[in-house]
């Protein structure tokens, strides 16, 4: 080759031809079309990210939730007995993955801390290419990750999060919550504890000091004060406290005759056990038996609390002892797989994974724009809670709320709670503007 004949013009021409030639194949590949929306799956698989607390005060709930996500992935891919895929009415899911792509997953440990949760969600989105993030078990974490997913252009299917803020002042268009919230707990539990303990009571709140605790305290206060109860005081306790002695000792001499524990997970197990050790339930105050109420608790917490949970009233999103077909199918799959009945944290995670997959199938795309449209206003049934609505205005699910009580005489180690009332969805429905916030536009760009 005679290089001495290459002048500037020839060099530029040939460079342009070579450059165009090199670029040509990529113009027509799916990789460039993938830029339509963030983390569009290009191969034969789609990756979901499960972000749950594996350490910290909510680790028990997180571990159970992760098991449920793994089960959901199995069922979506057509493995196992199919679980709730068989009872989900009118679903587009066929057990062949999502839109024909095999479902894979990555998981992360939120450590029950917002910063760690955001770091692990970022890793899953940026490094692992997760197209949807699900998880929570702490509203602080859920709110932080929901906002991150909105900015990152992926869908957030909230796991266990009960703060009013998640679908209230902090709601986002890319985020959806199946779990119920503190307001619904308050409305559901107030008539039951009013009947059981009377209308003339004085309540003392111990509250986990973060978004969930604050909103639950407010909702329960409003609901019990409407009954005629008086709130003596509300004391905030740091999330993850182990020793509650200094917070419990003032309770008895405060003039209160009911202690309301706005604690969850290990915090609740510790505070309730210690309250019982301090003899609170054996006391009389204002001429009445001293009572303890835990507005939100689960079977897992009941196991941890042992004897202390007997007779305690609370609320739950779901219970494995419900009689509908969806619940039976899920409990059977989960029990056979892991040897224990599923918790409400597990149930909500499993359902969220299925609902996301269903939305992708009906929209015919993984694009968050299509998924959001499919989920907004979606009415579904057969997933354990009866007919349920995903309200378009705030992305909150509306379904019956369970009022539960720790069983006095359990038949076996799994039989710890009894459902005392199922409060219909209409009674716990509220105006979407009540807790403020704006959904804003959907974001699908990275």
């Amino acid at each position: 080759m005679k290089f001495d004949r290459i002048n500037r013009r020839i060099f530029l021409k040939s460079s342009a031809i070579v450059g165009a030639g090199l670029a040509t194949p990529t113009i027509f590949t799916s990789a460039s079309r993938a830029q339509d929306f963030c983390n569009a799956p290009t191969g034969s698989t789609v990756t979901l990210g499960f972000n749950v607390p594996q350490t910290g005060p909510y680790a028990e709930e997180g571990a159970d939730q992760l098991k449920a996500y793994q089960l959901a992935v199995k069922h979506l891919n057509g493995e196992g007995d199919g679980g709730m895929l068989n009872t989900f009415k009118g679903t587009a899911l066929k057990g062949n993955g999502i839109l024909g792509k095999k479902v894979e997953y990555v998981s992360g440990d939120t450590q029950t801390k917002s910063d760690a949760a955001r770091a692990s969600a970022t890793r899953m989105i940026e490094r692992d290419g997760a197209i949807m993030i699900s998880g929570g078990s702490s509203s602080g974490v859920a709110v932080a990750v929901q906002s991150l997913c909105q900015d990152a252009g992926v869908i957030f299917m909230a796991g266990l999060t009960h703060s009013n803020d998640t679908t209230g002042k902090d709601k986002k268009r890319n985020g959806f919550r199946h779990f119920f919230n503190a307001y619904m707990s308050g409305v559901a539990i107030a008539p039951v504890i009013g009947e059981a303990y009377g209308k003339d009571r004085r309540a003392y709140h111990l509250t986990a000091d973060y978004t969930w605790g604050w909103t639950q305290e407010e909702s329960i206060k409003n609901a019990t004060e409407a009954l005629g109860w008086e709130t003596v005081t509300a004391v905030r306790t740091p999330l993850g406290s182990a020793d509650y002695s200094q917070y419990l000792t003032p309770v008895l001499n405060s003039g209160a005759d009911v202690l309301i524990l706005n604690h969850y997970g290990n915090d609740m197990v510790n505070s309730l056990r210690q309250a019982v050790q301090f003899g609170l339930r054996d006391q009389q105050a204002n001429g009445k038996n001293f009572e303890i109420v835990v507005p939100l608790f689960s079977e897992l917490m009941a196991q941890g609390a042992g004897e202390a949970i007997k007779g305690i009233y609370g609320t739950a999103n779901w219970d494995w002892k419900l009689e509908d077909e969806g619940t039976k199918a899920f409990t059977k799959s989960f029990g056979e797989e892991y040897g224990t009945p599923p918790s409400q944290a597990a149930h909500t995670g499993y359902v969220q994974a299925l609902l996301y997959a269903h939305a992708c199938e009906t929209a015919g795309t993984f694009n968050p724009k299509g998924v959001v449209e499919a989920l907004e206003g979606l009415e579904f049934d057969g997933l354990g809670n009866g007919p349920t609505l995903y309200r378009a205005d705030d992305h909150q699910c509306f379904k019956p709320v369970l009022v539960v009580q720790g069983k006095e005489d359990p038949a076996d180690k799994f039989d710890l709670l009894q459902v005392v009332r199922e409060v219909p969805a209409e009674e716990v429905t509220y105006d979407a503007s009540m807790f403020g916030g704006e959904l804003g536009p959907v974001n699908s760009a990275c």
Binding site: V235, A242, Q246, T249, N253, V269, G304, S333
Partner: protein
């Protein structure tokens, strides 16, 4: 008045734990001159001794009962504890009292752990700077923490107090203050235990020949060495005793707060503050500061105080430390010359 008594008891209880940990910490500092950041880990290992011991007592045989089904249709597993199956009522008693009984398991284990720690690592750092000692012992604490996490998981493990001590005592009636002052039996037992251990250590140091030599060594190591006494060996034993004291504090603490791998670190920082406030190397100072800070922390969490100064319960210990160090730079009972050369 009732609340005052209850918060005082809370403070004494917390103070008991602080004092027991700080006691060992200050002993090691006073004798070996080592700032041992792995001391919190010893407290945690003690707590896990109780976990291991109660698990050993509760080893089970699993049989399947085909008559009873789980909610998902598989036969129910029936678990029978081996100790109860072999020893009957005595076995049940052992299981019930596993926490106090694990003291006997923890003493040799902690002594061995303490001696291994001192001989295996810490003795190589006697002549190094305090900064290097802190770095290496802090690293050791993290290693121990991760070993425990790998073996027992990250979640707290609930351990029950014996049924006889799981209720609460009518302290008001004892004190003649009327009813309404109830305090958990186990916490009272912990307080009694902490006071006994502190008393035993002080008696050992003050009234035994061995203790006298140790104290002499703390004052002037070289002269004691000239008298032909192997003071290094005695100091090693003191390290072992410090480990046992921290370990026993951990064992007895398990029914109060379920043990987790982070519990050592949670207490370590507070215990260092206690040692510094009490005076580095002073046994009496550590005990005094332990109880004092425990009580102050409890009173600071009274609603009446928090309504004036919100959040004071979270910072009171550090505020007191600042005030004490500004007014008494050597701490409450610190001796001249310690950490000043």
């Amino acid at each position: 008045m009732n609340e005052f008594v209850l918060q005082l008891l809370n403070g004494l209880d917390k103070g008991g734990a602080y004092a027991l940990i700080a006691l060992g910490l200050t002993l090691v500092f006073g004798t070996l001159g080592v700032v041992n950041f792995a001391h919190g880990a010893l407290f945690m290992i003690g707590a896990f001794c109780a976990v291991v011991f109660s698990r050993l007592l509760q080893l089970e045989t699993v049989t399947v009962d085909p008559e009873r089904l789980t909610p998902w249709g598989s036969p129910m597993e029936i678990r029978t504890p081996l100790v109860q199956a072999w020893l009957g009522d005595f076995g049940a008693f052992l299981v019930q009292y596993s926490v106090p009984l694990s003291i006997f398991f923890a003493i040799p284990v902690m002594l061995l752990v303490g001696l291994a720690m001192e001989r295996g690592l810490i003795r190589f750092f006697y002549k190094r700077t305090h900064a290097e000692q802190i770095l290496v012992t802090f690293g050791l604490a993290i290693v121990i923490q991760e070993i425990i996490k790998a073996n027992f998981g990250a979640n707290p493990i609930p351990v029950s107090a014996p049924a006889a001590l799981s209720g609460s005592a009518d302290v008001g009636a004892w004190l003649g203050l009327g009813g309404g002052i109830f305090y958990p039996w186990w916490r009272l037992a912990y307080l009694g235990f902490a006071i006994s251990i502190v008393a035993l250590v002080i008696v050992f140091l003050q009234f035994t020949t061995y203790g006298m030599v140790v104290r002499a060594g703390m004052e002037d190591r070289q002269t004691v060495g000239f008298l032909g006494i192997n003071i290094q060996r005695r100091f090693t034993v003191v390290f072992g005793i410090a480990a046992v004291v921290a370990g026993l504090a951990g064992v007895m603490y398990t029914p109060i707060v379920p043990p987790s791998y982070t519990m050592g670190m949670d207490f370590l920082v507070l215990s260092f503050v206690v040692v510094v406030v009490g005076g580095m190397g002073s046994v009496g100072g550590a005990v005094l500061a332990g109880f004092l800070l425990g009580i102050l922390q409890s009173f600071a969490s009274m609603n009446e105080i928090k309504s004036i100064l919100p959040g004071i319960d979270q910072v009171i210990i550090y505020l007191v430390a600042v005030v004490v160090l500004l007014t008494m730079p050597r701490g409450l009972m610190g001796r001249k010359g310690v950490m000043e050369t």
